[in-house]
């Protein structure tokens, strides 16, 4: 990947749409036509499969931005998927018990405060930890003595300012973050408490809240974790993913735990999208409508992905991937870009999570759908589709879903091999695919096949000059 930008691609970000050349735009046009027409030819069963493929494509795009372009391994990506799904499911159907609200409010407040604190001071490690501790103490203390909200605001601001002064990081910044922590804490306790306790938010607002929450978590986590490299980063993200899954399983009061999961999640509606179906003359069932909704999001993600990759930001990502030291010496703020791509990636995953939770005809989520196995499968999708390939994500997600369906069909027929019934083949095949692709074509199927084809083409040309080639 070349670090330097060629002059003619410099303004792509600003005039991205106008500058999209035919080669880039053509797949999108084809995509839209197919998108509109599919429900005419697909039965309910295929539509359900397509909905899953769509959601997985979004996840693969988000992970690919992070892993394929910016070169930052994440083995805990399902955590953000889960955070999105759980946030919007909880907000829509599962009232949060009143006794959890103060703690939750404090937690969110402190998280927001920390985010402001790190963005202003770039503090990390011990300083961030002590600031967080100070904020926790303030928020907790103010709750315990039932102060007037305004008093809490003032006290926390003053406290944080004092702390910041002591830590020599600028009183203003400490004050600002303390203030944020206090405001969010109060918001959660007084304003949001109603919503949180009642449940019954709309799926759309649930999705927005999910993105906000995942983004916040990603920002805080990314700021710290992305300083690590290689194995260490992989293990840190993996650890994060496992912790999140354990919380889903064990925090029964809020998440329903691992025995129940969450039931009765309402469907996310988008009636105007169903209109596309009516135009093509299809009877619009909830599932058809949901198909249109999911793939509209996929379309947006593809556009976003392709444009980001071609923009200044995208080139910076690739520079970070190529060589972090080189990128930094050319003036690329690597740590900022890494955190940005992490947050973006978490946001997309979170939207996919909300779409997953609010599916038509399902309405149920369970912790096991967001565990390490899912994170690993996402890696398989990205690898199969090809690192650093936005359209490859679509291919990877589709291939995997097809393999899954095929294996499921194979298991139903009760074939036997050497006297053993064929069941539970999925992990074996996925593991083998992962190893095989990595060894044979580490660039992924799209790049691998096109390279092989190009090589073959060159071979035939050389072999038979003047041939049609």
């Amino acid at each position: 990947m070349s670090v330097a930008a060629s002059p003619d691609s410099r303004n792509v970000s600003r005039k991205a749409v106008r500058r999209l050349d035919a080669a880039t735009a053509a797949p999108f046009v084809i995509f839209l036509i197919v998108y509109a027409l599919v429900p005419r030819f697909a039965a309910d069963k295929e539509l359900t499969m397509l909905i899953y493929i769509g959601i997985n494509t979004m996840l693969a795009i988000s992970l690919n931005l992070l892993m394929g372009y910016a070169g930052q391994v994440s083995l805990g990506h399902a955590a953000f998927f889960g955070l999105g799904a759980y946030t919007s499911a909880i907000l829509t159907v599962r009232p949060i018990p009143a006794e959890v609200i103060p703690g939750l409010g404090t937690g969110l407040g402190v998280a927001a405060g920390c985010a402001v604190f790190t963005s202003l001071t770039r503090a990390s490690g011990a300083r961030l930890a002590s600031a967080a501790a100070a904020m926790v103490a303030l928020a907790w203390g103010s709750q315990a003595v039932h102060l007037h909200p305004a008093a809490v605001l003032l006290i926390s601001a003053a406290g944080m300012a004092a702390f910041a002064a002591a830590a020599r990081s600028g009183a203003l910044m400490g004050g600002a973050s303390g203030l944020t922590a206090a405001v969010v804490t109060l918001l959660c306790q007084h304003l949001l408490a109603g919503v949180l306790q009642r449940g019954g938010a709309s799926p759309w607002s649930g999705m927005v809240a999910g993105v906000g929450f995942s983004g916040l978590v990603a920002y805080l986590l990314g700021g710290q974790v992305l300083r690590l490299k290689g194995h260490y980063l992989a293990m840190a993200t993996l650890g994060f993913g496992v912790i999140v899954e354990i919380v889903f399983r064990q925090w029964t009061a809020v998440t329903g735990g691992s025995s129940d999961g969450i039931f009765g999640i309402p469907v996310m509606r988008a009636e105007w999208l169903g209109g596309i179906g009516r135009m093509t003359g299809v009877e619009v069932s909830p599932r058809v409508e949901y198909y249109y909704l999911v793939w509209a999001f996929v379309f947006v993600c593809l556009m976003l992905g392709v444009n980001i990759v071609r923009s200044r930001v995208g080139r910076a990502f690739r520079a970070v991937h190529g060589s972090e030291v080189a990128a930094e010496s050319l003036g690329v703020d690597t740590s900022r870009y890494k955190v940005q791509v992490f947050v973006l990636s978490a946001g997309i995953a979170s939207v996919a999570g909300s779409l997953y939770a609010h599916q038509a005809g399902v309405g149920y989520i369970h912790p096991s759908e967001f565990g390490f196995g899912v994170s690993a499968q996402l890696v398989v999708m990205v690898v199969v589709g090809g690192m650093a390939s936005i359209w490859g994500a679509l291919l990877g997600a589709t291939t995997l879903q097809l393999i899954k369906t095929w294996l499921l069909g194979l298991e139903k027929t009760q074939h036997t091999l050497f006297g053993l019934t064929l069941t539970g083949l999925e992990p074996i095949v996925f593991g083998a695919v992962l190893i095989g692709v990595m060894i044979v074509m580490p660039q992924g199927l799209v790049r691998g096949v096109s390279d092989a084809a190009a090589a073959a083409l060159r071979g035939t040309r050389r072999g038979r000059p003047g041939g049609s080639g």
């Binding site: 892993m67 070169g71 391994v73 083995l75 990390s124 490690g125 011990a126 710290q224 974790v225 690590l228 490299k229 290689g230 194995h231 260490y232 992989a234 293990m235 840190a236 993996l238 650890g239 994060f240 496992v242 912790i243 354990i246 919380v247 064990q250 390490f372 690993a376 890696v379 398989v380 690898v383 053993l420 069941t423 539970g424 083949l425 999925e426 992990p427 074996i428 095949v429 996925f430 593991g431 083998a432 695919v433 992962l434 190893i435 990595m438 060894i439 580490p442």
Partner: protein, 285 residues
């Protein structure tokens, strides 16, 4: 304590492979599972004289196969490629095991048990008011043996020294006539054998189950990082400490979040002191 010893052995396995190849082997936990499962399955039919060596051999064999897969792309591969290959191996091994042996947990009789009716009961001792099962003593003894054996091996035998040379400087090692290839295979085989040994020792305590490997592997890795990657004694001490901390938090605070403890510690260590508690600064890569 028992859990801690297993984490320690898994951590040693990580360290062996990391020291010779610089690769983190995500499939380490699966070696433990294979040891436990093979032992459990064979114990039902044969005596332990057959089952135990077979279990360790099976582990070694899987290790050798995996080494073959890692060896092929090792020269030109990025860290990401190697990580993904070992993850793929982990998924596949677990899948094959499930295919062969099913998902149910298999109880394994303890080494030195009192033969009862139907089920063999373990001997137990009373020590300072605590009840200790004989099998737990076995686990500790095996751990101690492994630690001593490994230390002697790497310090005093020619092969052990050659393996250390491979990590320090592969090109140099090749120049003085060490086959890096063979050392890599050997390190995988040793790590796998150790893992299998750990698995069969611990199986009477925890039962043998197909999906036991993932968690053990991850926690063993926590221990390895905690002790400083590449540091034997660090990994062992950290593993035992991790086991104790885990059972303490599980018993005293919240048993629900017992499994999360190791990972919280892992994150904290990675952020504050990536070189580990006992590691040297130079180990950072």
């Amino acid at each position: 304590m028992t859990a801690g010893c297993i984490y320690a052995i898994v951590a040693v396995g990580f360290t062996i492979i990391y020291n010779t190849t610089g690769v983190i082997n995500f499939a380490q936990g699966e070696f433990v599972m294979i040891g436990a499962m093979v032992a459990a399955v064979l114990m039902a039919k044969f005596s332990f004289l057959v089952a135990f060596p077979a279990a360790v051999l099976a582990g070694c064999l899987v290790g050798a196969v995996l080494a073959g897969f890692v060896l092929i792309p090792l020269k030109r591969a990025a860290v990401l490629t190697l990580i993904i290959i070992t993850i793929g191996a982990s998924i596949a091994i677990q899948g094959i095991a499930q295919f062969l042996w099913g998902e149910t947990a298999i109880p394994v009789p303890p080494f030195t048990g009192i033969p009862g009716e139907g089920f063999v009961e373990d001997r137990s001792f009373h020590l300072l008011g605590a009840v200790i099962r004989a099998q737990e003593l076995w686990v500790v003894a095996v751990t101690a043996l492994i630690v001593i054996g490994m230390t002697l091996f790497f310090r005093y035998t020619l092969i052990g020294q050659a393996m250390r040379a491979c990590e320090t400087n592969p090109a140099g090692a090749r120049l003085v006539g060490i086959s890096v290839r063979r050392m890599v295979v050997l390190s995988f085989v040793m790590a796998a054998g150790l893992g299998a040994l750990a698995g069969l020792t611990v199986s009477p305590v925890f039962y043998a189950r197909v999906n036991m490997g993932t968690a053990l592997g991850l926690k063993g890795f926590c221990a390895a990082v905690l002790g400083g990657l590449g540091n034997f004694s660090g990994g062992i001490i950290a593993g035992i400490v991790l086991g104790i901390v885990e059972s303490l938090t599980g018993g005293l605070l919240w048993s629900d979040y017992k499994d999360a403890v190791a990972f919280v510690i892992l994150l904290a260590i990675l952020l504050i002191r990536p070189e580990g508690l006992l590691g040297r600064k130079a180990d950072q890569k």
